[in-house]
Symmetry: C2
DNA sequence: TCATTCTTTCAATAAATTTTGAAAATTCAG
DNA sequence: CTGAATTTTCAAAATTTATTGAAAGAATGA
């Protein structure tokens, strides 16, 4: 397979992958493009390679920068901004875990805390089912939280070494 | 907080949560409703409690059944079908992991295998960046795959016991 | 400063997704 | 079988989300 074709396939499928994870298809495609590009790209490069508008590139690149997945770089002698993506997939994973934990898991746990204290007879079947479910999810979430914290802080080599040994 | 209010909040936020994970909001809400309901609900019950149409309930419940998260139950003496959700959050997590692995991770790994073999000079900067990125993602994916397999097969108690001990 | 190049914004538009509801299909008791 | 109860389907409508592109804003260097 030719490089150009392979790139296109990779970008397309990374985009499709993204949509299953609540990420906008184009954002995932821009990310994919930058990950497989050896050199930093400008807005115009991205526009051309993905066939999307300037505004769209701008929005999605900004979002990727917010996530810490992409950096602006200034090339000497150039007026334009260029962009480059973090290429170490473990760092990428850690950045994503960190952000999603902050944006989703932490607020969910906070809410569950509140919901555990509903008024009414704890013996009531309906109250009991609700509090049991909420408590179960909370406990699960707290364990996930702990585990993800370790991952986020972990150095790759330690992590791969010990965790993967653990998992046979 | 009153039970009814707490239920509504839980359902709303579980729905919002779902949208961040590529799941349709209503499907997540139906799931939430069934998880906190002590007794099985009929289509009409779900329609009424979530204010959605019959067709919508039908579609989303069917999807939840496909995922293994919801079961049909027949109440003796009743003509209607009733629905009930798996309430053990660990089982829920394992079912979700299993399905998503099959639907997303496995096909992605297959694709990456193919993309690793691009034509051209391995010394070429652009070819190298592409193959390195793809290889890195593939390795990461394989490790995730192994880890998730263990989780899916694990019995909860073993799992919580050993993994959580591992994560301090 | 000014003219030029580049970046950002955002209202309008387009596209994708979700929801509805009525009709068709199915089920089942009598 | 018959017909009432229930479930399923799916085209059309509504809603949500993503994209465009032109105009406004910033940055740069002469």
């Amino acid at each position: 397979m030719k490089l150009a074709e392979a790139k296109l396939q990779f970008i397309a499928s990374w985009g499709a992958f993204g949509t299953h994870w609540g990420i906008n298809r184009t954002m995932a495609q821009v990310h994919a493009l930058l990950m497989v590009s050896a050199e930093p790209l400008s807005q115009d490069d991205v526009m051309e390679q993905l066939n999307i508008s300037r505004g769209n590139v701008n929005m999605n690149v900004r979002e990727l920068i917010d996530w810490g997945l992409v950096d602006r770089v200034i090339l000497p002698g150039e007026r334009k901004e260029y962009f480059t993506a973090e290429k170490d997939i473990w760092k990428v994973a850690r950045l994503i875990i960190k952000e999603r934990k902050k944006r989703e898991l932490d607020p969910m746990l906070k809410l569950l805390d509140q919901l555990e204290n509903v008024d009414g007879d704890k013996k009531d079947k309906h109250v009991k089912q609700f509090t049991d479910t909420v408590a179960g999810i909370k406990r699960f979430g707290q364990q996930a939280d702990k585990m993800l914290d370790v991952m986020v802080k972990a150095d790759e080599h330690w992590f791969v070494g010990s965790l993967m040994k653990f998992f046979k």
